[in-house]
Structure formats: C-alpha cells, structure tokens
Symmetry: C2
Subunit: 451 residues, 2 copies
C-alpha cells in the first residue's frame, strides 16, 4: 500500500497519454465486429484473440501465485450510431469538450459504454506495473465483442474454458456512479427478455381507398397490443408477470428515501419532469428494482416523406422486459407471446423472434471484496460509496455465477447523462481519471488480508 501514492501520481501525470490511448480505441467503429483490438497492456500478460462462432474474445492472464486472482470483464463492441444526424460530431472521431466550466468530457460512441470504462482498469494496471513492476493480485482480462447483441456466444466460451477463467471473483466495469460526486457499487442487475413481434394481416400492402373500412390493419392490431401492455397505473398486464418480484423491506425503503432522488433531478436532465412509472412506487424503485416493459422500436407501412394511402400487410415491434428478483425469463417470454396471440382478430397472425432471455441477478452485499472496494472508492471520491441496484442488464454476471460459481463485483463510473446508446455518447474526464485512480486503490485493497 505504500506504493499507492506513487501509482496515483503516475496516473495523474499520465492522463493525457491515457486519453490518447483511449481515443485510438474509440476510433475503431466496433459496432458489429472488431478483431483489431488486442489488450494493449501486455506486460507480463499472456494475451491473445480467442475465436468464437461470433466475434472474438480478447483474453489475457497475469497469474500471481499465492495472491487472490480476479477475472476482469469488459466489452469492445458498441451500440449502433443511428440516428447519425443527431450527433454533433462524428461518432468514431472522439473529441474532448468542455461542457461547463471545469467539466470536460470525451464524446464518441463507446466513450463510456464500454471502452472508456474498460480503460480505467487497464490504465490502473499500467501505472501499477510501471511504478512497482508487478500487480498486487493475479488478473485475467476478458474483453468480448458481443455484449451489445446479447453475448450470444459468451456462455459457451465460459463453459468450455471454465478452468482457465475461474477466479476468486470477477470485476466488471460497465455500471454507473450514483451521481457525479458519489461512487457506487452495483449490487443487483435486472434481467431481460427481448422479443420481436410481427403482425401479419393481408398477404400484401393494400390501397386504403379500396380496402379501408374492411381489411384488418396490422398497425392498428399492434397498437392495441402495445397499448394493452400497461394498465392505467403503469403496471404491466401480462398474467403472472410479477410472480417472483419481492417487495422492498422497510429498511430498503428508508435507504431509498435518504437518497432523495427527485423526478425533477433525474428526468430533468432529459427534458422531462414526470415519471410515468408504476403508481405508488418511489422513483428510485421504479428505475432500479421494479420490472419494466418498453417498446424499443416499432415500424409498419409507409414511413417516407409525404403520403401513401396504404394499409400495410405487416407491422412489427421490438419489445423488451427488464426483470428483477426471481422472475423467470422463459415464462415471461411465453406469457408475452400468449398475450399477443389472444388479442389477434380473426385472420391475423403473429410471428416472433426471440432476442434473448436472462434472469435478474443479485450479488452479495457483504463480501470482503465488496467492503474493500467500498473503502477504496470512498477514499478516492471523498464520499461514502453507496450500493445500488441497476436498471440495466449485464448477462455475463449470471453466466459467471451459474457456470463458474463465481460472484462479481460491479464498479463503474458512468453517469446518467452519458447518453449511452444515444447520439453524442460521452464519458466525463473525471470519470476516466478518477476511475483509473479508483481501480489502482481497489487493486491494492484487494491484495490485503482479512475479511
């Protein structure tokens, strides 16, 4: 631990260089594939590309006999960039901008999710190695390329390489802080069911002047189904949907109340003022610990400029459910399909594409590793690190638990206004810099003895 001040000083001095390294990575448009990147911090690592049926996985090991060993997970793929016209700068030409006095951000697709986050850990290792010639614990780094498309090939890879990947616990840097000043450890993650549904009526597109008034319109059918997914209180109407959802304890409610998250503060940043979530639930509960349903996309008929008096033959929607507690993804996928089919008029059919189904995950909130990380984060940020639930999904955490019996520690430096998955995604320079420093502290802390 006595070497920590030198490591932190080195991170401070090296910030510009680390930023250059991050930008080089951000310039790679790894939306769907990117085998160009290989872990750039190879010193002492046996690292390389590992093929999967999809995009390859970057994997590197640096064992340290007698010390704890961690598996660090991140992903190099990024979300699609459309709608491109809403970007102020090009998504794969990273720029550093001062968005308010003293607050600089890195703008690019992947700046936060997940390249910027991954690099906080890589830079912490780099500085530690440079300063001390060693890492305090053994580390395996695994960076995959399919997280944004459901990590379809990862479970098989983990299963087939269980011996090689098994560690004392996993570290994931793909989550957020509580706010810009308050670090956080994520202790629960929502699961997900993602379904695509196509409603088919006539066997072709129709002229509304000829068939309007008689022929079923798939946009109308689909709209009725979407409208029926929530009741007037914002609850999801699928039969059995809330099975396995636990009510919060009074202590949990009190903790949430302490955080005092207001609609004005949380939604104000995106131009809204009022939550449309479940009535009778606190905002923080709605976004962190309750299951949700959102239509992520809808399309059908004529969508170009001007007019076309068409009744479409088909209309489609992408519908996702965020799961919590013990909700069963397969049961919910089945319930959704039944829900749709029950609402189809005569003649009308529905086809489904299943885009993935993963359960919610809770990580232990009382592990020694979590407590050590909490102390390290609190020291770096000068504010007590809080444990939070996340609305998002990181399916790999469930894979690690199920396939390797391994828990995960989720520490990340994203902010709610990072625009991840949106145009003008950014990562605060303070997240990037203090994130590096946080990991340097955590690496040292995890090497210490004691529970």
């Amino acid at each position: 631990m006595t070497q920590l001040p030198a490591i932190l000083s080195r991170l401070d001095a090296d910030l510009d260089a680390s930023l250059t390294r991050l930008c080089s990575w951000l310039e790679i448009p790894s939306i769907s594939t990117d085998s160009a990147y290989a872990a750039d911090s190879r010193r002492g690592f046996t690292a390389g590309l590992r093929e999967t049926p999809g995009h390859p996985i970057v994997l590197g090991h640096r064992p340290k006999p007698g010390a704890p060993h961690v598996l660090f997970y991140g992903h190099y793929d990024v979300q699609p960039v459309d709608p491109l016209e809403l970007w102020d700068t090009k998504p794969f030409e990273p720029v550093v901008k001062e968005i308010e006095p003293g607050r600089k951000v890195i703008v690019a697709r992947g700046a936060c999710d997940d390249k910027g986050q991954v690099m906080t850990f890589v830079e912490a290792m780099r500085a530690t190695l440079a300063e001390t010639g060693d890492l305090p614990i053994g580390v395996t780094v695994m960076v995959e390329g399919e997280e944004e498309s459901g990590s379809l090939n990862l479970p098989a890879f983990v299963r087939e390489n269980a011996e090689e990947l098994k560690a004392d616990f996993a570290l994931v840097c793909d989550t957020g802080m509580w706010d810009r000043q308050t670090p956080a450890i994520t202790a629960s993650l929502r699961g997900m069911v993602y379904q695509e549904v196509t409603i088919t009526c006539a066997d072709r597109d129709l002229h509304s002047g000829l068939f309007g008034g008689a022929a079923a319109n798939p946009v109308h059918v689909l709209a009725k189904i979407v409208a029926a997914l929530h009741d007037e209180d914002g609850r999801i109407t699928l039969p059995g949907f809330y099975d396995g959802v636990e009510e919060p304890t009074n202590q949990q409610k009190a903790d949430w109340a302490d955080l005092n998250l207001t609609e004005e503060e949380f939604l104000g940043q995106i131009g809204l003022k009022h939550s449309v979530g479940e009535k009778g639930r606190m905002l923080i509960e709605q976004i962190q610990s309750r299951p949700t349903c959102d239509v992520n996309g809808i399309w059908g008929g004529y969508t170009g400029e001007g007019t076309k008096t068409v009744i479409a033959g088909k209309a489609s929607a992408k519908v996702s459910f965020r799961l919590v507690g013990n909700q069963d993804p397969d049961t919910i996928a089945t319930a959704f399909q039944a829900f749709v089919r029950e609402q189809l008029p005569a003649d009308v059919t529905a086809q489904f594409i299943a885009h993935g189904a993963s359960p919610a995950i809770a990580v232990p909130v009382d592990s020694p590793a979590l407590r050590k990380a909490q102390v390290a984060l609190t020291e770096e940020w000068g504010r007590k690190a809080v444990t939070i639930g996340s609305g998002g999904s990181v399916p790999v955490v469930g894979d690690f638990k199920r396939l390797l019996g391994m828990d995960t520690l989720l520490v990340g430096f994203g902010l709610d206004d990072d625009r991840v998955h949106s145009p003008n995604e950014k990562y605060d320079l303070s997240s990037f810099h203090k994130g590096q420093r946080s990991w340097a502290r955590i690496l040292q802390a995890l090497a210490t003895k004691g529970a």
Copy 2:
C-alpha cells in the same frame, strides 16, 4: 356512329402497338417528377407542358365548334415503389404475364394507376382520328403530375386557367370496374384528411436500462392514441366524426344486397376472410359509403436487425381518414389534433403535418352524359354497367365542381386485385383493350343529341 365498327376493329388490330406505347410510358419512373412525357397523340391538338410551382401539367386542346366539349383528366405520377424487395419484376420494366389461362396482365408501377387507364382514352382518340380524321366531340386533355401527393398545385392552376379548362363536363379514368365482367360508373368518391403526427417525450433517445420504468416512451403514447381511434365495434371515436354522414335509404340497402358482395369473395383475394369494419354495416357499405380511418405508417425507435435497448425520443404515424357525405375535412383535422393532445401525458408533446384535406364528392347519377356512357359500356361489356361508390379519393373532381361549376363522369377499368399502391401493380390486358373500345363507344355516344 356508323364509323364505330371500323374504329373498334382498328383498336383490335392496333393492340400490340398500343401496348408498346404504354410500356414506353411505364418505363419512366415518374414517382416524384416527370416532365419528359407529353401527350403523344398530338394530331389536331395544341398541346404542351404547363408549369406549376410543383410538377408540370400536360395540357392539350382539340376544339370542335358546335359539338359538346369534354375535359379529360388523368395523372402521370405514380406511387413510391417500396418495399422494392416484394416486386417480382422491376417496377419500371413493364412485363406482360399470363397469370391464369387466357388472362394476361401488364405488370409495372402505374400499369393501372394511372398510366394504363389514361392510355385507354388516348388510344380511343388515336383510333378514332386515324379512322375518321376527326373526333366526334371537342376534347381537352389534362394530365398532371401530383395526384399521388395530393394535387397540391392543381386547384390554383384550375382557378387561374378557368376559361381555358371549362367544358361541358369532365371525364376521369382513375376508378374501377365492379368486377372483371361488369363495367361501372363511379357516382360518389370519399374525401380525405391525411395527418402526420410526431410524439416527443425525452429530448433524446434513452437507454432503457437507465430510464426504463420512469421515462415516458413515445411509442407507448402513440400506440394508446392509435388504439383509441376505433372502438370495439369498429367505429371511429373522434368526437363529432360522424356529423354529416347520411344513413342509406332502404332502396340503397336493397341495391347493395342485390350485389351480394361477400367477405369471402372480396377479402379472399388478399388472404383475409373477415371484415374488421363497423359492426352492423354491410361490407359494401363499409368500403364504399362509410367514413374510415387507417394508420398508413408508423415508426419510432430502433428498427434495424437485432436489438437495441433504447427508449426513443420521438415516434410518428401517418393517419388518414376517408370522408363521405357532408363531413367537413377541416373540422375533422382539428378534431384529430385535439383527440391526440387530450391523450398526452404530462411533458409529452405532439407535432402535426397536414398532408391535405378534401371533402367527399357525389356526382349526379341522372345526367344525360352518364346515361349515354352507361349504354356504351353495357354494349361493350355485355353486362349492365352499374353505378357505384368509391372508397378512394379523386380530389380534382371537387376542384372541377367548385372552381368551374363542372360535373365529372368517372369511368375506369381498374380491378380490385390490381395492387395499386402495392408491389406488383398490374392492369389486365382486357381492361386495357376493352377500356379503349369502351372510350371509343363513349366518344361516339356523347356526340349524340338528346337527354
């Protein structure tokens, strides 16, 4: 009239040549603009292009002092061709196909709507001129290029050129037959209100894992609005929507019953069996004389392959209403906007684009011209020509009445399975050929004296 047999024989002999002329026209992709076409039957016509603020109008005159004068109207623009992948052949490379033994069709965008239909009239004039050196009546031909986008510039053109365009009555060939054996004169046309609505929630696209459960989703809002447009009986729910809609007389109901249009027959051709129209109304009433509402297009969020866990900032729909009787288009457009706004949650806004509003139109069913045309059609087809209502809109008919005080005679040879506005649009060769012969008969009939 004694020259009619020779004219008809000439049309028979000239069919292949006329088909070649039609195909040359169909090869011009006049979706949005086409100033290349000029009336190809100039003999004795003073013809040329007339500019408008939009696409030019082809206008030709062949006066005949002492005889009746008619204004023939058609349009050279066609509907967009998407989705292109559903076309069996290229939309602007016309082909003649035998779709069942003895039944040939011309396949191309515009084959029916409206190039094929226009050419039935042009070829009838051509043969009459070739055979007799003259036309039996005076004719003005006007072919515009903006019908499929609402004829925005036509009313001003008609108003500014009223003296030049005024005729005893207008002829329009842009409607259909009752069925493949039974010719029809269209005696009423539905009007139209076409609105595009965009729902805006957050000021950007959001990550559903961060904001799902709290942030308003414009796809959900839009779906609820679309779902609310019809009640469970298929009636449109806009307040006051049915004001000005008259109930049919008992005679009208009896006439409809005689036509015996079944759901199986009418909807069977498009792969459906059941009407979803207004309960308690006959099918023919639903499609011809009742007002309707159809969403012609809807879009929002991620619509590409795979998944994106996004909550869109905006979602849009194109919504059209077909009007009948004395429904007022402006009142209905206003009612629609109010209906949308009333259903918006807090924070959520709606923006509208008005794509046009035209009232329904009825043409006199007892005019001498209509009766003469009815006799001529009956002679050509060997079945009594029926008078029908049309679900479609031909706004120019209203312009002629309002601006020139001129009635219109609507005769066309389209069939319900012509796939107008859809992929693989076609025109039966029998429509094309017997359509020419029909117009040759009508031209002669209109020259005769007597009511």
